[in-house]
């Protein structure tokens, strides 16, 4: 009854027209966005990735294509390639790499048919490797350890997406040893700038948290603490009074003592490590323990004769 009334009414005719119009718009829109996706893909095939991006930005917000894993997959690819075209390790455009990674992850989430999983994983793997590369470059080029570590953590985050059971132990050691060694060097080269020394210490202690037998981290920490103590002594002004002198000596002594266990560890791990023998001689000498200093001096000389 209701249907009959409605069918015969003016309202129905109007509504029928409206639905037809809506269907037309939707069809045209679906066609339009699909076409945009197609065009974007075509541009990508022609390596015109940057031109593809504005099209893909429309595709990923349109209700008809935003849930299509292909949209996000192509977007990931376009951003990844645009980033690569921007030059090696371009830190100013790192947001492109971020977008590429988040798009690949979104594509994976939508891709219930697993049609793009292999390529998405390849993108993420590629992006993760790029994050790692930039993180190491940032250390040396701009001394930006905070940004560098941020990118290193992204490398870990995205590597975990591809390989959830990946063991980062060696990579952590490699990265934090590189940071520690580099900043320890900067500490020396920049007039014992405490800021660099602190960065080095934090990084090297992270290495020892993972592997307390790591020789490189132990040596660098030992040398770092020793140098900090030696710097305190060397920077003393001639006019410093005896009371201040005692305080400075006390602080330097603490640093020398802090350096000792790291060097002893290296010596225990490798009794023929000449650097450890030489450093132990220096540390004991700084602690005014000439007997011990001589002991390591003799060990060093005996090693040289071998």
């Amino acid at each position: 009854m209701y249907k009959e009334v409605l069918t015969n009414s003016k309202s129905y005719r109007y509504l029928k027209g409206s639905i037809f119009l809506l269907v037309m718009i939707v069809c045209s829109n679906v066609f339009g966005q699909t076409e945009l996706l197609f065009d974007a893909q075509k541009l990508c095939n022609e390596k015109k990735y940057e031109q593809a991006i504005p099209l893909l930005e429309k595709v990923i917000i349109d209700p008809t294509t935003k849930n299509d894993p292909a949209s996000w997959h192509i977007r990931s690819y376009a951003y990844l390639q645009t980033y690569k075209q921007s030059g090696p390790a371009n830190t100013a455009k790192i947001y492109m790499l971020d977008t590429a990674m988040s798009s690949a992850i979104k594509s994976i989430q939508l891709d219930t048919a697993k049609s793009y999983v292999e390529n998405n994983n390849a993108f993420i793997k590629n992006g993760a490797a790029t994050y790692y590369k930039i993180s190491t470059i940032l250390l040396q080029d701009s001394l930006n350890n905070v940004k560098s570590e941020e990118l290193f953590l992204k490398y870990k985050q995205y590597t975990t997406v591809v390989n959830p059971s990946f063991d980062f132990k060696q990579k952590d050691i490699e990265y934090y040893n590189a940071t520690g060694g580099f900043f320890a060097d900067m500490y020396m080269k920049h007039n014992f700038n405490q800021k660099y020394g602190d960065v080095a210490k934090t990084a090297l202690l992270k290495v020892l948290d993972i592997d307390n037998k790591n020789i490189s981290a132990n040596i660098n920490l030992g040398i770092l603490y020793y140098n900090q103590g030696a710097t305190l002594m060397q920077m003393m002004d001639y006019d410093v009074d005896l009371a201040q002198l005692d305080v400075i000596q006390e602080n330097a002594k603490k640093l020398f003592k802090q350096s000792l266990p790291f060097m002893i560890k290296v010596y225990e791990l490798d009794p023929k490590a000449e650097r450890a023998l030489e450093s132990l001689q220096g540390i004991y000498s700084a602690l005014l323990d000439e007997e011990k200093a001589n002991e390591f001096k003799q060990k060093k000389e005996a090693l040289k004769k071998q």
């Binding site: 001639y238 006019d239 009074d241 005896l242 002198l245 020398f256 003592k257 005014l288």
Partner: protein, 142 residues
Amino acid sequence: MFLYNFTKLFDWPEKMKSGSFIIQIVGSNPSLTQELNKMATSKQVGNQKLEIKTTTAIDPSIKPHIIYLLNESSDLLKDASSKYKGNGTLIVTEKPGLAKQGAAINFVVADNKQAFEYSKNNAVKGGLKTGDGLNGLAIVVD
């Protein structure tokens, strides 16, 4: 650093307040000598220029304000004590026990730090005046 502090904490007789302020090192310690020479280029004692002299024995031609007998020259302490008695020379040594044998200042190592024993009696015997400023900072032996 210690030696320069001593120049401020002792008062030398008037006759020693002209010419260069002489620190004599008896024995060989090149790094110490180098450091003292470096200090002498930028510091002076009152109006007196610092002059560092290195010898292997007590040299009668030198009238030092401070004579520093390095460990290897410790045997010369007795001679130094008698030669410089009342002359205005601070005798400094670096072998355990020497503050009780004539040195006014004797460097020792205490708790992994450089410290020094102080004998006010020996300083006075050397012709120097001093207050109690050193007492809280030194290992006082008398």
